[in-house]
Structures are given as structure tokens and as C-alpha cells.
């Protein structure tokens, strides 16, 4: 069964034009297979990944844009299906907070270096 699906997938890929084929190759690397561990749908041969690939090909053949395909997948499987989540303020906070913490710690230690040294030397 899975072999038949694979043959159908490869066959239908040739039905797409060169630019669609290139877009298809890029799209299937952008999304993760929902039942695999960190694998892109393009690299997975699971049944659901094959169905997703088939769906993406159909959407490309129907002239749908990359953002429409993205919306289709994210609506159904959530934000976690994307390998690169869309940048947001909350996500940027994750990167900024440790840097701010590190800077504050450095400033604090530099200001109170002598106090720290005396404390630890006493201990």
C-alpha cells in the first residue's frame, strides 16, 4: 500500500511544472512530520507524511500560494508543525531575557566584586 502511495507521489510530482516542483521541494522541508521525531515531511515515509505531501502537491497544482498551504497545515496541526515558528514578541523575549539577566549579573558582580571576594574569603 505504502509503495503504491510512493509511486503515486513520484508520478504526480512530474505532473507539476519545474517552478512548482522547486516550491514543493522547499515546502516539504519546512514542516515537520507529526508522528516522527524531528523529521521533515519530505524526509518521512510515514502514511500521514505521504498524505500531507499528496495534499501539498494537489494545492500546488491548483495554483495555491505558499501562505495558503501554510495556513492549511497550521490550522490543522498547530504552530508546532513549522520548523521555524513565525517571529513574535513572546519568542524574542526568550532570547532577550537570558542576555539581560547575564548583563545584570555582570554589572552587579563588577560593582560588588570586593564585597563578594571578602565574603568568600571569610568563608
Amino acid at each position: 500500500m505504502s509503495r503504491i502511495i510512493m509511486i503515486m507521489l513520484i508520478g504526480s510530482l512530474f505532473a507539476l511544472g519545474p517552478s512548482e516542483q522547486q516550491r514543493y521541494m522547499q515546502i516539504v522541508q519546512k514542516y515537520r512530520c507529526v508522528v516522527c521525531q524531528g523529521q521533515a515531511i519530505g524526509d518521512s515515509s510515514s502514511k500521514i507524511a505521504n498524505t500531507m505531501k499528496q495534499q501539498i502537491q494537489t494545492m500546488l497544482a491548483n495554483g495555491q500560494t505558499d501562505s495558503e498551504i501554510d495556513t492549511y497545515l497550521v490550522d490543522r496541526f498547530g504552530e508546532q508543525i513549522r520548523f521555524s515558528p513565525k517571529p513574535s514578541l513572546l519568542h524574542s523575549l526568550l532570547w532577550v531575557i537570558p542576555v539581560i539577566l547575564g548583563l545584570l549579573m555582570t554589572i552587579f558582580i563588577r560593582r560588588n566584586f570586593r564585597v563578594f571576594i571578602s565574603h568568600f574569603s571569610d568563608v
Binding site: M52, L90, H119
Partner: protein
């Protein structure tokens, strides 16, 4: 005196750093939607594959809740929880969707399929399940007034 002030200051700093780290971990948990199910499909109108040629009014007319139950004979969890499904006394209308599975195989694994389900059909290519955002089996989509109300992964929780 001075020694205790120093110690207090160090303890304060450690507490502040700890609280900041805790906040950061909380933020991480808030942002990473590992198990969060997308809610965008909630409220979506119930439909069945066109090839079944079923009048949707027949299913939605009764004003009962409709449950789309995605299951398969190769799914051990589905087999083990099937007894719970048979014991269900609610007036929910169950529609079985065989996820990448054949009806003949399902009939061997699940007794009394026809009694339990008002309708049962095969989704061999998984297209119907994909369109409803189904990741695996078992999965239940519950509809009220033919609009998607919620989804569940185990019968015990639904």
C-alpha cells in the same frame, strides 16, 4: 553587622536570579505548544466524504451530538478501549472512520460494529482525517449542531 548585610544582599540576588529564571522557564512553557491542539477548526461545519453520497440532513436532523471516531484494527489502544465505546449509553450518534484501514479487517478486530456506529466508512488514503487535523488513532471529534465542539484522544476523557 556588616557581614550579615553582605549575606543578606547575596541571598537577595540569588532569589532575584532564581525568580527571573523561573519566569523564563514559565515563558518557555507558555510559548512551546507541544500538546496544544489548534482551536482554529472548532466551529467548523461537519461534512462527510462526497463519495459516500450521504445526505447530511439525515445525520444532523436528530439534534443529537455527532462523534466522528477515527480508529483502526492495527491500533491496539482502539481495540482495548472498544469495550468502553460499546458500553456508551449516551445518545451520541457515532460515526466510525477507519483510518488507513479496511472494513473487513475492522470487522475481525471489533465485534458489533454495525450496532455501535450509525455509519462507518474507510479512509484508506487518510485525506479525510488530514482535513480534520487528525494525527493518529484513536481520535474523537465531537460535533454539536453540526459544528465541531471539541476533540479528544481517549474515550475515557470524552
Amino acid at each position: 553587622m556588616f557581614q550579615s548585610q553582605q549575606s543578606n544582599r547575596i541571598v537577595q540576588v540569588i532569589i532575584i536570579v532564581f525568580v527571573c529564571l523561573l519566569f523564563w522557564v514559565f515563558l518557555n512553557a507558555l510559548i512551546t505548544p507541544v500538546t496544544k491542539q489548534p482551536s482554529t477548526l472548532v466551529g467548523r461545519e461537519l461534512y462527510l466524504p462526497k463519495q459516500l453520497q450521504i445526505d447530511m440532513k439525515e445525520i444532523t436532523q436528530s439534534n443529537k451530538k455527532v462523534a466522528l471516531y477515527f480508529f483502526a484494527s492495527w491500533c491496539s489502544t482502539c481495540v482495548s478501549e472498544y469495550k468502553t465505546l460499546l458500553d456508551d449509553k449516551s445518545d451520541t450518534l457515532w460515526v466510525g472512520v477507519l483510518y488507513y484501514d479496511h472494513l473487513n479487517d475492522a470487522k475481525k478486530a471489533f465485534p458489533d460494529l454495525d450496532k455501535r456506529f450509525a455509519l462507518i466508512f474507510e479512509d484508506l488514503d487518510g485525506e479525510f482525517a488530514l482535513d480534520w487535523g487528525v494525527k493518529g488513532t484513536p481520535e474523537i471529534l465531537l460535533f454539536k449542531d453540526s459544528k465541531l465542539l471539541e476533540r479528544s484522544y481517549r474515550l475515557e476523557h470524552s
